[in-house]
Amino acid sequence: MKLLLPFHLQKVGAGFPSPATDYVEDDIDLNAHLIKNIPSTFLIRVQGKSMNKVGIHNDDILVVDRSLNPKNCSTVVANVNEELVVKTFVKEKNQSFLTSGSKEIKDKINLAENPEIVIWGVVTYVIHAL
């Protein structure tokens, strides 16, 4: 038979009691911080080129939330030409565009003119190994 003893965080001792005992919390759970909506959040790996201006590099892992609607300058995953790609979502004068990184770049895709393009999800974090 095992005898279970009550477990004390702080040693019962002679010294000065740790002032931190009242503030002890659980370990940090990255999932809880990086994933707001569990059923709609997917981890997706970047393959190929990088998007340096946005800070996304080859082999990074994107945290993508499908439940969010993109705002101006959101980084999104979109279905363009039957492929999932990373784009920047830009709003200008009530019109929405997808661009490849920054506002200035000319290869803007007008979403109203390309109704077949679907926003797959909004990128909320990038996990990058150094």
């Binding site: 996304i56 499908r66 439940s67 999932l84």
Partner: protein
């Protein structure tokens, strides 16, 4: 007419496995797609486009190969870890719409919507569909009615509707719709019952609803009359929000190629035992009886066909992989016959019970038992953390040459770091 105030919605994912495959492959969005059962045997999921080509559910792959090649039908082997993860996401999303929910299968759930006002039901159902589609990417159909059987029927019709929703509670055309449903498509009516009903002139759900209850009770069993009552709007099958624990656990696989040697069968049985034991430990259950079975292909003619099984009653209840494997292998040895080309083998753990009723055997060494329990816990923890089969038993084999054929599997797993879906930067 309404006999109760229940409002039950059956939410069913459309071509679920195909929809999962499409989630990360937009190029197959509007193309014909099929998913094959393990070993690439039969068609188990079809996109609307594949259905239109005449590919039937459950059809063997070799029979549809010609249609597949001629029409460039995209074909996938099963990827159950992906489907399982997407299913969990769908169910979690649905749960927000009703705390009272019964997960009926990997792609179906009953929701209790009794607290929703009648006039808001349709709107509510559209919202459920829209949310599931946006969050998980999976299209669904929803049938709403006052009983489970009727909600199944409503869902059957919803599958064909563009809106994807059919609400029988506010409908005056219920009987009209029920007469469109053939008797074999009614929930709870199996093959035998279908034959019997058709012989007696009951061809549709509506026919069954109208038949005299005394006749059904006299001629079928309690399930038959339950179905008829439910079609009339009397609830007989209640929602079961709590998952019932399984009473038995079967793991079996067809081999990727025919197997002759006992050593290879041993490997397969060991692997199946490990999988099943892990499942029952997860549910905190123990097993009292093991059945081991082997068979050659049923298409083998004459003397080349052989099938046999053996039951083993265990001296004590257990969920210890090592003990279970030991017993299963003894049973296998007793039914194995040389010279046959085996196609399939499997094990069934039966009379499962919760492990807290685990009783210590008078003769077992208590110390040893506790060590084993700890060993099993260590194996389970390691495998949860580092992936299945990280820690196994050597008997299960390393190469597993007999393992299943999966020629067309998508290598995506949304719940595994090493097989995440990928995205490009254009």
């Amino acid at each position: 007419m309404l006999y109760n105030n229940n409002k039950i919605a059956l939410v069913d994912c459309n071509s679920f496995y195909v929809s999962c495959e499409r989630l990360f492959s937009p190029s197959i969005d509007k193309k014909p797609v099929i998913v094959l059962s393990s070993n690439d045997g039969c068609v188990i999921s079809r996109s609307t486009e594949a259905k239109a080509l005449g590919i039937k559910m459950g059809e063997p792959y070799f029979k549809v190969k010609k249609i597949v090649q001629e029409n460039d039908v995209k074909t996938f082997s099963t990827n159950f870890s992906l489907y399982g993860d997407i299913s969990r996401r769908v169910m979690k999303t649905l749960k927000q719409f009703s705390p009272q929910m019964e997960i009926y299968s990997i792609d179906e759930a009953f929701l209790n919507l009794s607290s929703v006002k009648n006039e808001n039901l349709l709107e509510h159902a559209y919202k459920i569909r829209k949310t599931v589609l946006k969050w998980t990417g999976i299209p669904t159909s929803i049938g709403i009615a006052s009983t489970k059987t009727l909600s199944k029927a409503a869902n059957y019709i919803a599958k064909k509707e563009k809106s994807g929703v059919v609400d029988l509670i506010n409908s005056k055309k219920t009987d009209e719709l029920l007469s469109e449903i053939k008797i074999n498509n009614v929930w709870g009516v199996g093959k035998q019952l279908t034959k019997f009903y058709i012989k007696n002139g009951i061809n549709t759900a509506y026919d069954l609803k109208k038949i005299h209850n005394g006749w059904i009770k006299k001629n079928t069993n309690v399930f038959g009359s339950r179905t008829a009552m439910e079609l009339r709007g009397f609830p007989c099958v209640s929602l079961e929000p709590h998952e019932e624990k399984r009473k038995n656990c079967c793991v079996s696989r067809s081999f990727g190629r025919k197997v002759k040697k006992l050593e290879e069968l041993n490997e397969a049985i060991t692997t199946h035992c490990l999988n099943a034991a892990e499942k029952i430990r997860l549910d905190k259950q123990t097993v009292k009886k093991i059945t081991v079975f082997i068979r050659t292909s049923p298409f083998q003619i004459g003397n080349s066909y052989y099938a046999n099984s053996k039951d083993v009653d265990l001296p004590i209840r257990t969920n210890d992989s090592i003990m279970l494997i030991k017993q299963a292998l003894i049973a296998l040895k007793s039914i194995y016959k040389k010279g046959y080309r085996y196609q399939k083998t499997g094990i069934i753990f039966s009379s499962l019970k919760d492990s807290d009723i685990y009783k210590k055997n008078l003769f077992s060494e208590i110390n040893n038992d506790e060590k084993r329990i700890k060993l099993m816990q260590a194996i389970d923890h390691t495998n949860t953390r580092y992936g299945r089969n990280s820690l196994s038993i050597a008997q299960a084999g390393l190469k597993k040459k007999w393992n299943v054929k999966k020629q067309h599997a998508s290598k995506i797993d949304t719940s595994c770091f090493n097989f995440l879906p990928t995205v490009k930067i254009a």
